[in-house]
């Protein structure tokens, strides 16, 4: 199925893509980085803040289309979802596991993303 056909099925994909392309690190989450409204979203915010990584939070609770559309966009059924330079990296479990074994730090270095030294 071509990209155009997929977008026709999911008009919200255009909006999602523009959010993802707008900043290097984008977190689709419940709530905001300052006021996360779900434990899993808060856990990823804390990891990114601890690494001093600049990121954009997209509050899916503000937009039901994005909240559902993002799950089809990435074929991932839950929120939060972390994107780095347009690539889906994972949800809470994967980000936490990558952080704990140092993989996330290396991944961000490889992607040229600024973080605390």
């Amino acid at each position: 199925m071509t990209q155009a056909a997929v977008s026709a099925d999911h008009p919200v994909f255009e909006r999602i893509k523009s959010e993802i392309d707008e900043q290097d690190v984008v977190l689709f989450m419940k709530g905001t980085p300052v006021f996360p409204q779900c434990g899993f979203s808060a856990a990823v915010v804390q990891i990114l803040s601890q690494m001093d990584v600049k990121f954009k939070g997209v509050n899916v609770l503000d937009d039901t289309d994005v909240r559902e559309g993002i799950k089809h966009y990435s074929n991932w059924p839950t929120i939060p979802q972390l994107y780095v330079r347009g690539e889906f990296v994972g949800g809470c479990d994967i980000i936490r596991e990558m952080f704990e074994n140092g993989e996330l730090q290396q991944f961000l270095v490889d992607k040229g993303i600024q973080q605390a030294s």
């Binding site: 899993f40 074929n75 991932w76 059924p77 839950t78 994972g90 479990d93 994967i94 596991e97 990558m98």
Partner: protein, 78 residues
């Protein structure tokens, strides 16, 4: 509606027959589980792909009746 641990393990094993599945009930509410899944089907797959395979075996329940599944996946150690 909630799920019980055996139902989760059964669903996973239907699509990953060789899987070793360990389910931990995190809150006793049938909604928050942790699952460790070890399967040879994961060889050569990224972590995202491995988790997606498990989510697909749950046939749409993930994020629905099953609110939270803390998942860790791996291929069998050689």
């Amino acid at each position: 509606m909630a799920m019980d641990a055996d139902e989760i393990a059964t669903l996973i094993k239907q699509t990953l027959p060789d899987a070793q599945v360990t389910i931990t009930d995190l809150r006793g509410d049938g909604d928050h589980y942790a699952a460790e899944v070890i399967s040879s089907e994961f060889v050569g797959k990224t972590r995202v792909q491995q988790h997606q395979m498990v989510y697909e075996s749950l046939q749409g329940r993930m994020g629905g009746v099953l609110h939270a599944l803390a998942l860790s996946t791996s291929a069998p150690s050689a």
